[in-house]
């Protein structure tokens, strides 16, 4: 896989993901106008482009075993999505390292990679090729994906711009879960479709777990975390505040949302 290190790696066989003292920082441009014209105007006045360093994840250490479902909860800006991108290899760490044991499938931005002028089938092929699959492998999956997404007859060969938002989300989700991933990363992706599709999605994820595949879910739907996950972590401003059973983590998080209560050990962090 890309960017893989050549250094010898010791990874316990039972683990799908090992995160060691992970920190992720990145620089963002805080200027309202991100234009060359603005940069030149600033330079002419002797000013620099205004940037800010964001510490999205701070010294996070975590093991995720094969066949488990990990939920991540936290307020906006907690670093959940950054962490997911880092596990997927999209955003390399600034410090620490991530070891991933298995093929990853992601759904981190809904409607991912979809070109609205192309058909659903063409978009699925492009997404699969980008993830490193061969054309034959993807074509063998397209019917399965179409069936799972419950697209009306013939819609798989229609331009994606003709899809309803529900169909759009269902196809994106269906692509992610049907690429036979060892590790599935889902960021706010469980809201696609109606109640029956949600039930089907949950069943599919349970099947994946029975096959010893691993799922990491970021969701603000706390009932989903409770229902699907067998462990959870709570992230706050880049730091992992707590980890444990989903119901306990969700309770702590709800308490924080209600009265702003942080765990007692937060002061030490």
């Amino acid at each position: 896989m890309r960017y893989a290190s050549k250094a010898p790696v010791v990874m316990p066989e039972e683990l799908a993901v090992r995160i060691e003292d992970l920190s992720i920082k990145y620089k963002i441009n805080v200027d309202t106008k991100r234009t060359l014209k603005n940069a030149v105007m600033r330079a002419s006045k002797g000013e620099r482009v205004r940037t800010r360093v964001v510490e999205a994840v701070k010294h996070l250490t975590l093991d995720v075993p094969h066949g488990s479902v990990l939920g991540i909860v936290g307020a906006n800006g907690a670093g959940k999505s950054t962490l997911m991108r880092s596990i997927a290899g999209i955003l390399p760490p600034t410090e620490g390292r991530i070891i991933v044991n298995g093929k990853i499938s992601t759904l981190l931005a809904l409607g991912v990679g979809f070109n609205p002028a192309l058909s659903g089938r063409d978009n699925i092929i492009l997404g699969g090729l980008a993830s490193g699959m061969t054309r034959d492998e993807i074509e063998a999956k397209t019917e399965e994906i179409s069936d799972f997404a419950a697209l009306p007859d013939g819609f798989i060969d229609m331009p994606v711009r003709t899809y309803s938002s529900g169909m759009y989300g269902r196809v994106a989700f269906s692509v992610a879960v049907n690429m036979t991933p060892d590790i599935l990363l889902l960021d706010e992706a469980l809201s696609a479709g109606d109640a029956s599709f949600k039930e089907k999605s949950f069943n599919r994820m349970r099947e994946l777990c029975k096959e010893a595949r691993t799922i990491v879910i970021v969701s603000h739907a706390l009932a989903t975390i409770n229902e699907l996950c067998d462990s959870a972590i709570w992230m706050h401003k880049g730091t992992m505040l707590a980890k444990g059973k989903p119901d306990a983590i969700v309770d702590q998080y709800l308490k924080f949302l209600d009265v702003g209560a942080l765990p007692s050990n937060f002061e030490d962090m």
Binding site: E13, Y26, P92, V100
Partner: protein, 296 residues
């Protein structure tokens, strides 16, 4: 349904993500992944063309018609301003403008489509880990596919022109045409390198693409397309070598118009700019690739 997966099944698929020791990620795995996913770049180019011309039956004809009509306009301007002493010279001028414009358009299409490829590929970049250079590379493939049909159009114009003006300077079939693949490769590499540079700039400054429109127009006038390289003398010839497309467009004139091999300095100039564009553009792009996921 597939059977249960044993833990040992995962052993060969270990991936490690670590901080880059320098600005660049480890280059050997990067290029291995780039090569492994080359089909993605070719299919993306094919699908992008398909999407662009899906609603237009004659859309692709414009790819040839646009530079062809522009060549006619420039030809009229040049012959009116300069005045033509003979019809044979007129055909030579037309041939030079045509092949120059077609070649320049190849580079321009690489750069302009490549410059937008990262900002346009936003959702793909946010969701998938793959070498981002595949996106501008796909634009280069697309530009090459658009360039290919212009060659038969040029040949047709010249064959018809030579029929009416048999004493024209434009050469017939010669061995020097064997330089054409070299020229096309140099234009493609220079275009790809500059596409990498401008694609990165476009992530940071979203008006880069607007600026490119004006830049390429001025670049066109500064390039040996509306004028022949042989018109420059003395130190003015430096203008050819200071232009990233100058040497390769001179080589185009030598092969297609003058019927001779490009000089060694022209060949070296073309190689220099292609290598410089790839190395500089590649470094600029790959060293900032990590930022793309947070700046799009």
């Amino acid at each position: 349904m597939p059977g249960p997966v044993k833990n040992s099944d995962f052993v060969s698929k270990i991936q490690v993500f670590e901080p880059h020791k320098a600005a660049l990620p480890p280059l050997v795995p990067y290029f291995k992944e780039f090569w492994k996913r080359r089909t993605f770049a070719t299919e993306l180019a094919r699908f992008a063309d398909k999407a662009e011309y899906l609603d237009s039956k004659f859309g692709k004809v414009w790819l040839v018609l646009n530079p062809l009509l522009l060549a006619m306009v420039y030809f009229l301007l040049v012959t009116v301003i300069r005045g033509s002493s003979s019809k044979n010279l007129g055909l030579t001028t037309l041939a030079h403008i045509l092949i120059g414009l077609f070649t320049f358009y190849f580079a321009q299409n690489c750069i302009s489509a490549g410059a937008q490829s990262i900002t346009a590929g936003g959702r793909l970049i946010l969701n998938q880990a793959f070498p981002r250079a595949l996106l501008p590379f796909s634009s280069t493939i697309s530009a090459f596919q658009q360039f290919l049909p212009t060659i038969p159009v040029y040949i047709f114009v010249i064959v018809v022109g030579k029929h009416f003006f048999p004493t024209t300077q434009v050469p017939g079939l010669t061995w020097n045409y064997l330089w054409v693949p070299f020229i096309v490769l140099m234009v493609g590499l220079t275009g790809f390198g500059l596409a990498l540079l401008f694609a990165t700039m476009n992530v940071y400054f979203r008006d880069t693409n607007k600026l490119l429109t004006y830049m390429t127009r001025i670049w066109l006038y500064l390039s040996p397309i509306l004028w022949q390289p042989s018109m420059l003398h003395g130190w003015h010839k430096m203008a050819i070598y200071l232009n990233p497309l100058g040497p390769v467009l001179s080589a185009t004139s030598d092969v297609w118009i003058n019927g001779k091999s490009p000089s060694l300095t022209i060949i070296l100039g073309s190689l220099f700019w292609a290598a410089f564009a790839i190395l500089f553009g590649g470094y600029f792009f790959i060293s900032r690739e990590r930022d793309f996921a947070v700046r799009i």
